[in-house]
Every structure is written in structure tokens, then in C-alpha cells.
Symmetry: C2
Subunit: 106 residues, 2 copies
DNA sequence: GCTTTATATTACAATATCATGATATACTGA
DNA sequence: TCAGTATATCATGATATTGTAATATAAAGC
């Protein structure tokens, strides 16, 4: 069982991924790092929004970043986050196939 | 890469877990099923809140439920969700140990 | 120092989520 | 049918999140 601090942290982590754009960003940044502007363009959002989404993902530890010249490159922190994203993707695909049939559990 | 419907679904799934109480509920319901009132008492919240939290978790497929007499028993849907919770717990514990040191990735 | 480029921060209206109390629905047993 | 119990839904005020524009900060080259 998680202690309270870990629970709060985990909830914040889930919260950071609880937005379609941030989820797409996290997914994109597993492949390779990108600058804020690159993310903004790829996601079709403004620079400010991109910066804020990236900042939120980095604050909870999903992303890390390093400056390079006037730019800052963001990428996913490590393999655990990629595993979580894969599991969720799997889960959602199965769930969308079987929908309300409920995997014969109830 | 996830298609748009899957992305939306995954974001909703993360959103359901993005709340300390719901996270504790999900964790508790991996061990054994519970009724709404049992959850309410164990979490120290009201019946209405418990019902709504459980309903949200069930809506996105994290929980399943079955009625029994006048009660309804909720439990976690399957092993994938338990794996996700474990991974997140691990991640958060490592992250809280190393904090801003950033696992030497940047 | 000035200009350009890239990013971060601030401000704020619109929207969504949350907690809580009241009410409604549904099942059980007398 | 009536009373009691369990759950779900509705209503709503408080709080938080989102999207966007404007402004601020910081680095690089001239």
C-alpha cells in the first residue's frame, strides 16, 4: 500500500497524463526529444500552451529536458513511463474492442 | 501511435486515477471487492462521494461491479490495471528518493 | 548594447471537477 | 404495502484546469 506522499505524487502523475494533448506529447517524446516549438507545431497548439503542458509533464517527472542554445529539448524520463503508456494503450484497445461485454468478469 | 479514440479513452482513464481518493480505492479493490458503504467508511468519505468515485472508475473500465442483494460489490477489472498501479508506485518511490537529481538523464 | 529567436510566466475568462446535502430509485423482509 | 437499507442521481457552491493573448526572460550573433 502506498503511503500518503506517494499517493499524492502518483495522483499528480496520472493527472499530468489525463489530457489528450499531454498524452500525445508524452507518446511522441518516447521516440526522440523535441523543442517546445517543435511540439507546438506537431500538436497544432500555441507556443505558450506547449510550454505549459511540457512544464507540467516535467514537474511530475515524466519528462526531462536540457537546454541547447536558445532551445530546450524535452524527452521522456525513462523506460517505466514508456511501459505505463504501453500498458494503458493495450488496456484501452482491448477495452474498446470488448466494450460493455466486460471481459466476462461480472 | 494511438488513434484519437484510444487517446481520448486513455486520457479519461488517467483522469479517473488522478485523484488521491480514487487511487486509494483502486488500490484497495485489487485485494478484494467491497460495497459502496464499505468503501465510504474505509476512505472516510460520504456515501454519495464514494458512489460517484466508484462510478467514475467503473465508467472508464478500471472497476467492474455486481449487485448482491441491496448492495453492489466493486473490484478492479483485471491484472493490467494492477500492473499499471505497481509501475506507478515504483516510479513514484524512485522519483521521491532521487527527486530533482533526475536519474542522471539530463 | 541591440535584435532576433526560443522559452517561460502572467493574467484571466471559460470550462470542468469536486465535495456535500437532498432526493430518487431499488431491493428486502415483515 | 410499508419500513428499512443500499445505492444512484441531482443540485450547487467552491475550487481547479484549460486555452489564449500579452509580457517577461534568456541566449546567440551582430
Amino acid at each position: 500500500m502506498m503511503d500518503q506522499a506517494t499517493t499524492e505524487r502518483a495522483a499528480a502523475l496520472f493527472g499530468a497524463l489525463a489530457h489528450p494533448v499531454r498524452l500525445r506529447i508524452a507518446e511522441a517524446l518516447t521516440a526522440h526529444s523535441m523543442t517546445v516549438n517543435e511540439v507546438a507545431h506537431q500538436m497544432g497548439i500555441g507556443q505558450s500552451g506547449a510550454s505549459q503542458h511540457l512544464s507540467q509533464l516535467a514537474r511530475v517527472g515524466i519528462l526531462v529536458s536540457e537546454p541547447k542554445g536558445t532551445s530546450r529539448y524535452y524527452r521522456v524520463r525513462g523506460p517505466r513511463i514508456e511501459m505505463i503508456l504501453s500498458l494503458i494503450e493495450e488496456f484501452c484497445q482491448v477495452h474498446s474492442l470488448y466494450g460493455e461485454i466486460d471481459e466476462h468478469h461480472s
